[in-house]
């Protein structure tokens, strides 16, 4: 029976060039416009590395210090640039070290192509040295994966990999190439993949759904938008802004939707979800029409589904049909790319404004400011807060920086308080919650958006999960700014222990090393701040620095992040203390 690979091959052009499979891998990447990849060499991928040596003037390879770092760097690159990130590793442990990054990219819909070497095809299944079934392992966490055992299949498979990774709802793709396929020769010709017959990246938009949605919006008294990363992935920021401004509907965002709409926009009403803002969470359960735009109703957004927006009609703008009615039933599903659907619905709606409804958000803002925000940004206590560090960074960067955050309390504080003027500026591990994400992701983000300031905000726990990537920063000289908010605790877990486990702080206290010395060991300029009066100058110095810079800020050990929706509670049961 004819396989798809064979079908695809038939479509390739006739003019060919003889070369090895390994060289073909490089030529495919170049043909896809790739000029930067992250990886780590090893036995089963050596033929490709040998070709990388020859092509180093055209294809830059960044040697990370761990394969996980390569995947996160590729993710950071993709998130900041909008292009496909590429990571490469050897078989066995090289491939298994990719797993966390791939799973992270899958749940956060990040376009990434991972290439792994594999033992020779004659050794497959023999438990050979560094053989692991990475196809089997990565199946549930990839959008697509494929093992190549024949050199001549390489161009068509890589073309398909890039097409699948970037089209529709993006995601990670893994290509596993046996060593003999890398060594073997083929007649090389490359043509980009234009389609896969069993795969429809963007569903058709039913014009009736747009009309019905417009009609419902027209009748709404208290409509509310919640937008997600779909807006950023679809590059629909302008369409979203136009839609929000014409409709006059208050717009809240999910953690991954952050930065798609400038922080200062008058209709930006803040973040939804577990540590989101008070108003949008409360009013989710009071709005009459909820417009979900490019978001997937994650449980951290919805809290208890039984009590989530039950009073509201739901309009779901979505590219992935499997997301419709998955967690929240949509009254109207507007299928398609939000860049198109938002543009198409715009002429169907009337200009409007909802002043008294918007005032309800503002009233909640005032309550939240008095109870939470004021103390977080301008603490009355002697110890430093995470929030005032973010405020200090805002002051120096004017909201123009890419903020890369890790996972935990500092992440929630960064996402709540960082100010943004541009899209693709918030890089964080949302769905998987991968501690250790930020340092390598910041390296990728800076390389993906070299003209922009990139500031990584990391906790003392997550920092030590991928701290070895300081070596990558030193070797490449990539000028990322690293801020570790050190509370000597795994702060978010400690917060839960305090609130829900009677303060039994099991294994959350950290005895930390001298982080400044470690950074200096990598020849990275470093400073530690323990007092408020030194903070702003240190941030200023860090932002002014043309090279990489490490700033440790010792913050209050036992602060909690509020507001908070306790796990399993309703969004409207959000707590301020």
């Amino acid at each position: 029976m004819e396989t798809q690979t064979q079908t695809l091959k038939k479509e390739t052009k006739v003019a060919t060039e003889k070369m090895t499979g390994a060289e073909a891998v490089i030529r495919c990447l170049l043909a896809e416009g790739v000029d930067l990849i992250y990886g780590y060499p090893g036995g089963a991928i050596m033929p490709v590395y040998d070709e990388l040596y020859k092509y180093q003037d055209r294809l830059h390879h960044v040697l990370t210090r761990h394969e996980q770092g390569a995947t996160h760097a590729a993710q950071g690159y993709a998130r900041a640039s909008g292009k496909v990130g590429v990571a490469i590793a050897t078989s066995g442990p090289g491939a298994t070290n990719f797993v966390t990054g791939i799973a992270d990219a899958q749940i956060d819909s990040t376009p990434m192509v991972c290439i792994t070497g594999q033992v020779g095809s004659h050794l497959l299944g023999s438990d050979a040295f560094q053989e692991t079934d990475i196809i089997g392992i990565s199946t549930p966490i990839t959008k697509w994966n494929h093992q190549v055992t024949k050199s001549e299949d390489i161009p068509a498979v890589i073309a398909k990999a890039f097409y699948i990774a970037r089209s529709g709802r993006p995601g990670p793709v893994l290509i596993d190439i046996t060593k003999d396929a890398q060594f073997g020769e083929l007649d090389f010709a490359y043509s980009k993949c234009k389609g896969v017959r069993s795969y429809k990246p963007v569903p058709e938009t039913d014009p009736k759904s747009l009309e019905e949605a417009a009609k419902l919006i027209g009748k709404a008294k208290k409509p509310m938008i919640v937008f997600g990363q779909g807006v950023i992935l679809g590059e629909a920021e302008a369409e979203l802004k136009n839609f929000i401004e014409k409709s006059g509907i208050p717009a809240a965002w999910t953690i991954l939707g952050l930065s798609a709409l400038p922080t200062a926009h008058p209709l930006n009403v803040g973040m939804v979800g577990m540590h989101g803002n008070y108003g949008p969470n409360k009013l989710t359960n009071e709005c009459d029409v909820l417009l979900a735009i490019g978001m997937r109703f994650d449980d951290r957004v919805t809290g208890n589904l039984e009590t989530y927006a039950k009073q509201a009609k739901i309009i779901h703008f979505e590219i992935d049909p499997a997301e419709i009615n998955k967690n929240v039933t949509a009254d109207i599903a507007v299928m398609g790319d939000v860049k198109n659907t938002l543009a198409q619905i715009l002429p169907l709606i009337q200009p409007n404004s909802y002043d008294s409804w918007l005032q309800e958000f503002k009233d909640y803002d005032t309550i939240e400011y008095d109870k939470v925000i004021k103390e977080e940004l301008y603490p009355s206590k002697e110890s430093l807060s995470m929030g005032e560090v973010i405020r200090g960074i805002n002051e120096e960067t004017k909201g123009d920086a890419v903020i890369v955050s890790d996972v935990g309390q500092h992440q929630m504080i960064a996402c709540r308080y960082a100010e943004f003027t541009k899209s693709k500026s918030n890089v964080t591990s949302g769905g998987l919650g991968t501690m250790g994400f930020a340092l390598p992701a910041a390296i990728g983000a800076k390389m993906g958006a070299p003209e922009r300031e990139v500031v990584a905000i990391i906790g003392d726990g997550g920092y030590q999960m991928t701290i070895q990537e300081l070596g990558t920063i030193f070797q490449t000289g990539v000028p990322v700014k690293i801020v570790v908010l050190n509370n000597d605790f795994l702060g978010m877990v400690r917060q839960w222990q305090q609130l829900f486990f009677d303060k039994r702080y099991a294994s959350t206290e950290m005895v930390n090393p001298d982080f400044v010395k470690i950074a200096e060991g990598y020849h990275i300029q470093a400073k530690k701040v323990t007092k408020r009066e030194d903070l702003q100058d240190a941030i200023k110095e860090m932002i002014a620095c043309k090279e990489a810079y490490f700033l440790e800020v010792c913050v209050e050990k036992e602060n909690n992040v509020f507001p908070m929706i306790p796990s399993g509670a309703s969004v409207s049961d959000i707590r301020l203390e």
């Binding site: 029976m1 004819e2 396989t3 798809q4 196809i135 089997g136 199946t139 549930p140 959008k143 697509w144 994966n145 494929h146 093992q147 699948i164 234009k194 389609g195 896969v196 017959r197 069993s198 795969y199 992935d320 049909p321 499997a322 419709i324 009615n325 998955k326």
Partner: protein, 177 residues
């Protein structure tokens, strides 16, 4: 919502690894498969999986959504039992001595609408095709005599409705020309 038997028909490309990808969808949701069969379909180069699970309709809808999301899945459908024509096949291996020592067994076989596939001096094999309860009924009748081996296939099913796979494939061919 009530749990029911659903037959999921999945039309796919014929690629290594797809079986793993499909079974992972059930594994992730902690759903046990009643049966899964894979075969060629009525269309050249298109494979077909027939999966039987007992879940609620809401669950089966979401599962079909996740299945269709897989790149190499062309289309997936779900049907209730009454919407399909379905069969299973079972093989019974029985000691040949029983044919002569236990006269009653001959009547059981005669009345069961089964076929004798092979007879050797040591054993004979009968094949029974039908619905699960028919196969089970025969099993319960033969089991007291002692079965040397028993095996039953997964369900295979065709639907009463049309499934427009060829049309999907033709549309794709037109779009990409």
């Amino acid at each position: 919502m009530k749990k029911e038997n659903y037959t999921i028909s999945v039309y796919t490309e014929n690629n290594i690894g797809l079986l793993n990808r499909l079974s992972a969808i059930f594994l992730k949701r902690h759903i046990n498969l009643d049966s899964m069969t894979a075969s060629q379909s009525e269309i050249k180069d298109v494979f077909r999986f027939t999966i039987v699970i007992k879940v609620t309709e809401e669950q089966v809808k979401k599962i079909v959504g996740q299945i269709e999301k897989q790149i190499e899945v062309i289309k997936a459908f779900y049907h209730r039992d009454e919407e399909t024509i379905y069969q299973e096949t079972a093989l019974f291996k029985i000691d040949s001595k029983l044919l002569f020592e236990e006269r009653q067994i001959q009547n059981v076989i005669k009345n069961s609408n089964s076929n004798i596939v092979t007879v050797t001096p040591e054993f004979f094999v009968i094949e029974k095709t039908g619905r699960r309860r028919e196969v089970d009924a025969l099993y319960h009748k033969l089991e007291p005599y002692g079965l040397m081996q028993f095996v039953r296939s997964g369900r295979i099913a065709v639907t009463k409705d049309k499934m427009h796979i060829s049309k999907i494939l033709e549309n794709f061919a037109e779009e990409t020309v």
